[in-house]
């Protein structure tokens, strides 16, 4: 398990390779890369500043990954989240999951993202031509995360 919170960029290809290199039990690696878009809610985005709660961030991410490892049979997980000042096209977050089979790798990767979005202490501030504004949490993110509690809907067959 690798969990990093950093200002610097990361290399998705290197992270995916590290999740399976020399590990012949790994049959599937799923990954997610989140990126800064140049438009949000109809307004141009010039910058994105990510604030976090340093003492809690890694603990929170570790808890989410632990829960995923309890739910599915995973071989390795990597989560990297950037903080600080970013621009459109920049990478924000990487989640990679290695497993024997694809169903578990897909479910766990999406689960980790859904919970990261609703539990991990990061906050985004957008710089727009009209000034800076904090991004509002979306109710749909809570609903998506809650569905994992209610059912095994996304569990592999």
């Amino acid at each position: 398990m690798k969990i990093l919170v950093q200002e610097t960029d990361f290399d998705p290809g290197a992270e995916i390779a590290a999740l399976h290199a020399g590990q012949p039990r790994v049959g599937a690696v799923t990954s997610f890369v989140g990126l800064v878009r140049d438009v949000n809610e109809g307004d141009a985005i010039n910058t994105l500043t990510l604030e976090h709660y340093p003492a809690m961030t890694e603990k929170s991410l570790r808890g989410i990954v632990d829960e995923a490892m309890g739910r599915w049979s995973l071989l390795d997980v990597t989560v990297i989240h950037r903080v600080g000042l970013l621009n459109p096209l920049d990478r924000i977050v990487f989640v990679g999951v290695a497993s024997g089979h694809r169903g578990e790798a897909f479910a766990a990767c999406e689960f980790i993202m859904d919970f990261l979005k609703t539990r991990a202490p990061f906050w985004k501030k957008e710089g727009t031509p009209q000034g800076d504004r904090w991004v509002e949490a979306r109710a749909t993110d809570d609903e998506v995360a809650e569905r994992w509690q209610q059912s095994s809907k996304k569990d592999p067959a």
Partner: protein
């Protein structure tokens, strides 16, 4: 008892405070007691920590609720719903 309180993101800016140490009576309390104390300062505290305000809390770096117990030396954080990822 003394509790360190941290604020993040929009709430940190609204309150104009990053962290402070609150002194509460007794040795044990719930998070609700801290929120009550802050609301009594009036706006922006009363407004931002109102019943429908949708803020979030953590005690010792773990997500918490109004009925989470707090004791001397704990770190309590109050912040808006998270928006990372």
């Amino acid at each position: 008892m003394k509790v360190k309180v941290l604020y993040f993101a929009r709430l940190r800016e609204k309150f104009g405070v990053e962290s402070e140490v609150l002194d509460l009576p007794g040795e044990h309390a719930y998070v609700a007691a801290i929120v009550d104390m802050l609301r009594k300062r009036g706006d922006p505290w009363a407004k931002e920590l109102g019943l429908d305000a949708g803020y979030r809390m953590a005690v010792n770096q773990t997500l918490a609720g109004l009925v989470t117990p707090v004791q001397n030396g704990d770190e309590v954080a109050i912040f808006p719903p998270v928006t990372g990822g």
